[in-house]
């Protein structure tokens, strides 16, 4: 197997007698400056391609150092030799399959102690390592001083201090690459007990691999399935003994092995840094750092989330955007001023009633399509995207991911799924596409289902806020219904769909005061995109509805849907909103808004209609993307399930509200 191919001693000779380029791998955590170093070493001539069988991109280029040619490979970010994400799996595969002549481990000088854990792993794997302590300028600015020569002596490998974005240390890195000669380096030692466990397993391994027996033994003890499969293949019958020994050791340590190993590595890193690292005395935490801690702790994070939702979504988007602004634009500007004026002009210019109906009739392109797009949706998406951009620019979303990680694990997802969920509040179609970044197929299906079901898009959310905010109890009922259905369906889906929930961790970028220019830029860009996308669709929908009206098809569809509407306690006219919802979710919600302003719906009916419409089948664009991403069978299954659940929930909610008399 390629992963366990024996490493070549040196570079391969070519036909002309010369040697092929020596291979240099850049490895390290994400965001430590690997790509900047790669670009600095290679210049413009690079190839970027997907790693075979994956969507992970790997960049390769060449560099000439001291008249010698080197092949430089920029690996995806990895935190450890034990992979969790696809990127890490690819990085490890390259590390092992490509038989590197040199591995440059790039670390962040500001987080030296934490990042040295991977250096320790690379050294114990027997790989030829140069350590680049990058971003040293920022570390110095924070008052951190690092004794590079002492660190090199402690590790027994070349160490270079650098700030590659500022070209500092680049010459030293080039020199270290040119001068590097493979030699035995010191391998950090764990506690006696752990070393004995490792030695017992390593002693049973008969075949040599690209990794040292010590590293293989450690990965086996961490139940790395890829390594278990490969060692099993390699050792053949001898694997039974290895497997028995692993089981024995894992049983003796129960669940604590990962923690024990992390603590031991931390101790080694602390020891290596004795005399190397001088950090300033404990400094006072800034308000941003304290706020950051509050947002991720459940005890303070949940109340903070509720405050954000109340003031941001309810007060700002719901009351101000969908209430005050919509009243002004839709009520005053369109209904009182613009629509009567334009209707008069069109009726004078076009004497044919059928054509008049197309432009200024009940479903007219101007009186309905334009009014919905500008009078209702525009103020709603403006306030929503403004609120969204403020949260985004403050760095709140990654903290939200950590906060909900535990809850999401119960529904088969991880905090990583916050990305599509949050984007779903902007546009569910785009968010469905982003589910492809989730690690497992199981997660992708669950997230797609929940997005189709219980995540309203921005405009739909805003209009529903406008409908329900006049009756706060109705808004609470709607919110808790959706939350309950989101959780129940998520838990059931996690049980029905087989598979394990992966681990999730991420580095938190700093929390900061949102910048006005950033907020305005992002809000403007999103609104521009949204508006360019929805305006033609709204006009098209108006034309289709006009055709429906002229051919009486629409009337018939409303008649067919009447029993369904009656089942959930709604008048026949409400079918129009659900037919609108097929085109776009927000169009459907705007239809409900119209019915309410005409006085056709009262509190209980609005609540039931809002819950049913939010859960109702995804819009055409989202459905097509589900089909593309998950296949026709999954798309049809989700469509049918969501529709049945929407009307089933509407029916039940109507009965409950009637029985309890809450609304």
């Amino acid at each position: 197997m390629a992963l366990f191919r024996k490493k070549s001693a040196c570079h391969k000779p070519l036909a002309d007698g010369s040697c092929s380029a020596r291979k240099v791998l850049l490895v390290g955590n994400p965001n430590v400056g690997k790509s900047v170093l790669f670009n600095a070493l290679t210049g413009a001539y690079v190839t970027v391609s997907n790693y075979p069988g994956t969507s992970v991109e790997v960049a390769r280029g060449t560099a000439t150092v001291s008249d010698e040619r080197f092949e430089i490979i920029d690996t995806p970010g990895m935190y450890s030799l034990l992979p969790i994400t696809e990127e890490e799996r690819v990085a490890r595969k390259i590390l092992l399959d490509d038989s590197p002549d040199l591995v440059i481990h790039v670390i962040d000088a500001r987080n030296l102690e934490r990042m040295l854990a991977m250096t320790i792993q690379l050294l114990e794997a027997g790989l030829p390592v140069i350590l680049v302590v990058n971003i040293i300028d920022e570390a110095e600015r924070l008052g951190i001083s690092i004794n590079i020569p002492l660190l090199a002596a402690q590790l027994g490998i070349p160490v270079v201090g650098a700030a590659v974005t500022k070209k500092r240390g680049l010459a030293e890195i080039r020199r270290a690459i040119a001068d590097f000669r493979r030699s035995d380096h010191r391998v950090p030692e764990y506690s006696r007990r752990l070393e004995n466990d490792i030695a017992e397993i390593a002693g049973l391994l008969r075949n040599r691999s690209a990794l040292s027996p010590k590293a293989v033994a450690l990965l086996l003890l961490q139940r790395d399935q890829e390594i278990i499969d490969l060692v099993s293949k390699q050792e053949g019958e001898g694997f039974a003994a290895v497997e028995g020994k692993i089981r024995e050791k894992i049983y003796a340590r129960r669940e604590s092995f990962h923690l024990d190993l992390s603590l031991e590595r931390r101790k080694i890193a602390e020891k290596l840094l004795e005399g190397v690292l001088r950090a300033p005395d404990k400094r006072r935490k800034t308000f941003g750092e304290r706020l950051s801690q509050w947002t991720v702790r459940p005890l303070t994070g949940v109340p903070l989330l509720l405050i954000v939702l109340y003031y941001g979504l309810y007060q700002f988007v719901g009351v101000f955007g969908a209430g005050t602004l919509v009243d002004l634009l839709e009520g005053t500007l369109f209904e009182e001023q613009f629509n009567p004026w334009i209707s008069q002009i069109v009726n004078e210019l076009l004497p044919w009633p059928v054509i008049q109906e197309l432009f200024v009739g009940e479903f007219g392109v101007i009186t309905l399509g334009l009014r919905y797009a500008i009078g209702i949706i525009l103020p709603v998406v403006f306030t929503f995207f403004l609120f969204f951009s403020i949260l985004e620019d403050s760095g709140y979303f990654p903290r939200l991911a950590l906060l909900v990680d535990r809850l999401f694990k119960k529904i088969g997802l991880t905090g990583r799924a916050v990305i599509p969920m949050v984007l779903g509040f902007g546009c569910d179609t785009m968010a469905t596409m982003v589910t492809r970044t989730l690690e497992t197929v199981r997660e992708r299906i669950i997230a797609t289902l929940l997005l189709s079901l219980a995540i309203p898009c921005s405009a739909q959310l805003g209009v529903i806020m406008a409908l329900l905010s006049q009756t706060p109890v109705a808004l609470l009922v709607w919110f808790f219904c959706l939350l309950l259905i989101f959780l129940v369906v998520g838990v059931l889906a996690a049980r029905v769909i087989p598979g394990e929930t992966p681990m999730f961790y991420m580095e938190l970028p700093p929390m900061r005061l949102p910048q006005l220019s950033n907020i305005l830029t992002k809000t403007f860009s999103r609104m521009q995109w949204y508006f360019v996308e929805i305006l033609p669709l709204f006009i098209l929908a108006s034309v289709l509805l006009w055709i429906g009206k002229m051919t009486y098809l629409f009337e018939k569809m409303s008649d067919w849907a009447a029993p369904l509407m009656a089942g959930i306690g709604l008048p026949r006219e409400a079918a129009v909103a659900f037919i609108f919802g097929f085109f776009r979710r927000d169009y459907g919600a705007a239809g409900l808004y119209d019915l309410q302003t005409k006085g056709l719906l009262f509190a209980r009916q609005i609540t039931v209609a809002a819950v049913t419409l939010t859960l109702f089948i995804p819009c055409i664009a989202q459905f097509l993307v589900i089909k593309k991403e998950r296949g026709t069978a999954v798309a049809v299954a989700i469509g049918l399930f969501v529709s049945a659940l929407a009307f089933g929930s509407g029916y039940l909610l109507n009965k409950i509200l009637l029985a309890t008399g809450i609304l």
């Binding site: 979303f397 970028p509 521009q528 995109w529």
Partner: protein, 56 residues
């Protein structure tokens, strides 16, 4: 560009590559973070020009 979700810094071209498979990428004003796939709106051209003009 700077990812608003994970903080990763990347070139706009690197981000645009992630949009290749998206059926709605035509006319879309967002780029995907190569690390976490979060969508970040591109700065409008007029804003870039305005910033340049202010710097001068």
């Amino acid at each position: 560009m700077h990812c608003d979700f994970c903080g990763y810094e990347f070139d706009e071209e690197e981000g645009v590559q992630g949009c290749g498979n998206c059926p709605m990428s035509a006319g879309c004003k967002a780029v995907k973070c190569p690390r976490c796939n979060y969508e970040i709106p591109k700065e409008p051209l007029w804003m870039t020009k305005l910033k340049k003009w202010r710097r001068r």
